[in-house]
Subunit: 504 residues, 2 copies
């Protein structure tokens, strides 16, 4: 047995190396690369990804995997080796359905689509992006064909990002959230608002960035195994468990975005830095799903980073950095201001109450496009109608509407729902932790985050992809992924903030 | 024909992509990577390099190459396609002689040797590095075996860096230079020296870096196809023609190193940025040899950057940046100071007159080690004896002696002679250019460098590796690579500087 598993590990190890190198290339393209480098980056990235796909779907690997699967039959299903082989087999089964030519064609299509999207967004002209979006939809429809039979065509793309979730699960989830969140957002917005102009005063970029770095250092971000840079859009890229890179940006119109997005990306990074060394150079290294990943970023950004105890600790420190900007601002006023609920055009700037309402239109459009219920050219109208319905506003331009996210341009289709899944999981994990540690508010008030980080590492991070998301959440919390805790959390937090009756 | 060449290009293109990605990984490791990333970097780099070697030496590529070779027989030997196929065949013939296991073993040996060298250098303890050096020498001796029969074992390693050069050529070259350069260095050092303490005053790092950037911008370094960062040792890394990265460092004890090393690396970068697009994604992309490459860095750094006309233009600008540091310093005093000749321990800080005298001991040690004339443990004594003989000084520590260069630790054996070859070629090219353009001094005095850059681009850069170094230099200058122009240049320049009779 040792031999087959060793061969499998060595074959898979190479593929993991190639994917890791490809991640570094992506990071470099977003952070370092001079503009002229786009061509060589495109070639290098395409070649490495194609080789990784070719090798992962090779007959040699398939046969080796088959032998390994027979050999683990005698092991307990929860044994590390069993989980390793099973996750590899699951990935393999999906990968072999996709022909190499498709991978190459998609890589080509998305590399030009991304450039077109950037131009379209700059010029706020959907027509520039339209033919590329049509091509990508056609590719996704072709992709669906590789995974037939399916209950719903969208299941094929959803499975890539949120394994074990079906379209019907997402529809049920949205059904439970939609009305409640629309109502809550309306009620709160009709409430008198507190002053928050101080959030948009003039803040020094470097002081803000340094403050954010100190915050995530207390969370436990390991700078010897990671770094932070600037990029057009904040993101986190794991090159490996011991090299996890995050980015941030500074926007003078919204200086606190730097802080909250740094906490957000640090949440992703802590997950990656916490994967157990046993999964190194295997496909198990990484997060269980995008939803589970997002639960970590939202937990640190929102459940901790926008909580009152957090600011009881950090507000005095922040005020010391920005004495003039925050002069006369009370802790309570600051806490209210950073939790202000307001319908806005841009998803990444949305508050906790409206966030999911940005996700739903995107998923609904994707399903409509994939099933040909609407044509790509009609997507902007669909978008605007949904924004009106859920958020009561209509984007003033395609740039602030349908062109705001890069996802489709780089082929990420079926991705958006994971943001909502992440919101739900974050609250379920937090409920579990606070039940186990009734002193959690006290801890945060003292600026003590190690117990939270270590708990997450123990129950979640170290497992990597070795459990499926739903199984993992159930193992940790004892409950299925559910909308109720999230809705309760919103009602209680925002009820208290606005003086509404708790429990909604 | 088109088909075979197209297939060959597509196979080779993949390999070029992999090598380019590996270069990016190396650049990242030196410039960006957090310390924890060294493990994942090692794995990724080894996998990519092994795959590149495997694929380049594959039967498929070999057969395709053979057909392509037959097909170019009907073409003029100078046709682009002929040159492309012939360079590919030359590389292939060398690559197939080296077994994949050897590549893997060397990668492993050098990754630990490099760490050991760093530690040895820090602690100035040769014993730490000794077993690794022994291993590397053993590997190089094994490497020589792959290329038998040879006139001299050292020919095998020399060919990797300076194609077409034999050990006997290097020995002849050193023979012609040694005595003359030793004499010249002694004569000049016995001359009264001008004041140069102002070169080591306190200079602001950022102002110096910005000044250096402005200088190389006037040379024509294309920032849209390149970038500059800080690293422990300055270097230039081409990811591709349109993405060429250079690094610099700032040393308070030697603030002008930033400027001269930036000009040096920009010389390398201009070469890479100037390769014709037709060679993109082929093995012809890049420089003809390390010697030819070094001719470009030395030309910009020394022949231009340490010339009087250059400083007639730039000294007033420099003095505006550093008014207090350069108060009362005349152009002539500055020119003398930056051309001061002085025996020193460190090669990269050596002046034009003593530089080759640093190269010779290294090459002589390598030959002695490879042929087992001396043992690795005796290398430090050999080193010190040669330094005494050529430069009249003995390093005060291994860190300032045999441990100063990283080359051997990363497996670069046979490399050093190319620095001297580069010095020779730089002067031959410069003689040719100045003969064609008698107004060259005037041009430089006006800060006009485009004609020089464009001439180099036309006669040299654009050809990439499509001509062998000796052929290339002869095509451009009408003469073989020779020591005389370099010795004449030194005699005239330093004779004038020291009031010695010109012509030595």
């Amino acid at each position: 047995m040792a031999d087959d598993v060793a061969t499998l590990n060595s074959l898979v190890g190479e593929i993991v190396d190639l994917r890791s190198a490809a991640s570094l290339l992506d990071w470099d393209a977003a952070v370092c690369m001079p503009p002229g480098g786009v061509g060589v980056y495109g070639n290098n990235s395409a070649t490495i990804r194609r080789l990784a796909h070719d090798r992962f779907t090779s007959t040699q690997l398939g046969e080796c995997l088959e032998r390994a699967l027979r050999q683990i039959e005698s092991l307990p299903p929860d044994a590390e080796l069993s989980r390793l082989v099973k996750v590899t087999a699951r990935d393999y089964d999906r990968a072999v359905r996709v022909p190499a030519e498709y991978i190459a064609e998609q890589a080509m299509a998305t590399s030009t689509a991304y450039q077109a999207w950037k131009e379209a967004r700059e010029r706020s002209d959907f027509a520039i992006f339209l033919p590329h979006l049509e091509k990508i939809i056609a590719l996704k429809q072709q992709y669906v064909g590789f995974f037939q039979p399916l209950d719903h065509p969208y299941d094929a793309v959803l499975e890539d990002y949120e394994p074990g979730f079906r379209t019907s699960d997402i529809e049920t989830m949205f059904g439970a959230l939609r009305e409640r969140q629309v109502d809550l957002a309306r009620t709160i917005q009709n409430h008198p608002r507190s002053e928050d102009a101080f959030l948009r005063a003039s803040y020094d970029e470097q002081v803000m960035v340094n403050f954010a770095r100190e915050v995530i250092s207390t969370f436990g971000f390991d700078w010897s195994r990671g770094r932070q840079d600037k990029s057009a859009h904040p993101f986190a890229t794991p090159i490996g468990t011991d090299d996890v890179r995050i980015t941030t940006r500074f926007d003078e119109r919204n200086p606190f975005e730097t802080l909250f997005s740094t906490m957000h990306e640090a949440g992703h990074a802590l997950y990656e830095q916490g994967v157990a060394p046993v999964w190194e150079r295997t496909v198990v290294r990484g997060g269980a799903s995008l939803g589970v990943h997002e639960s970590q970023s939202r937990l640190w950004e929102n459940l901790i980073g926008r909580s009152l105890p957090f600011w009881e600790h950090f507000f005095p420190l922040l005020r010391r950095r920005f004495p003039s900007q925050l002069q006369g601002v009370s802790l309570e006023a600051f806490y209210h201001a950073i939790n202000r609920v307001k319908s806005s055009f841009i998803r990444v700037e949305a508050d906790e109450v409206t966030y999911n309402l940005h996700v739903m239109p995107r998923v609904e459009i994707e399903i409509a496009l994939l099933t040909k219920a609407i044509a790509a050219k009609d997507a902007p109208d669909f978008w605007n109608a949904k924004m009106k319905e859920y958020l009561g506003i209509v984007p003033d331009s395609p740039t602030h509407g349908i062109l705001q996210d890069m996802h489709w341009s780089i082929g990420l289709f079926g991705y958006f729902a994971t943001y909502t899944v992440g919101n739900l999981i974050s609250v379920q994990l937090w409920e579990k932790f606070t039940a186990e540690r009734p002193d959690s508010s006290e801890m945060i008030r003292r600026g003590e985050f190690a117990p939270i980080r270590e708990w997450l590492r123990t129950v979640l991070h170290r497992h990597g992809r070795s459990y499926q998301p739903r199984e993992l959440v159930e193992n940790i919390t004892g409950s299925a992924i559910s909308t109720k805790p999230y809705l309760d959390y919103l009602s209680i937090k925002y009820g208290a903030l606005c003086g509404l009756p708790a429990g909604g």
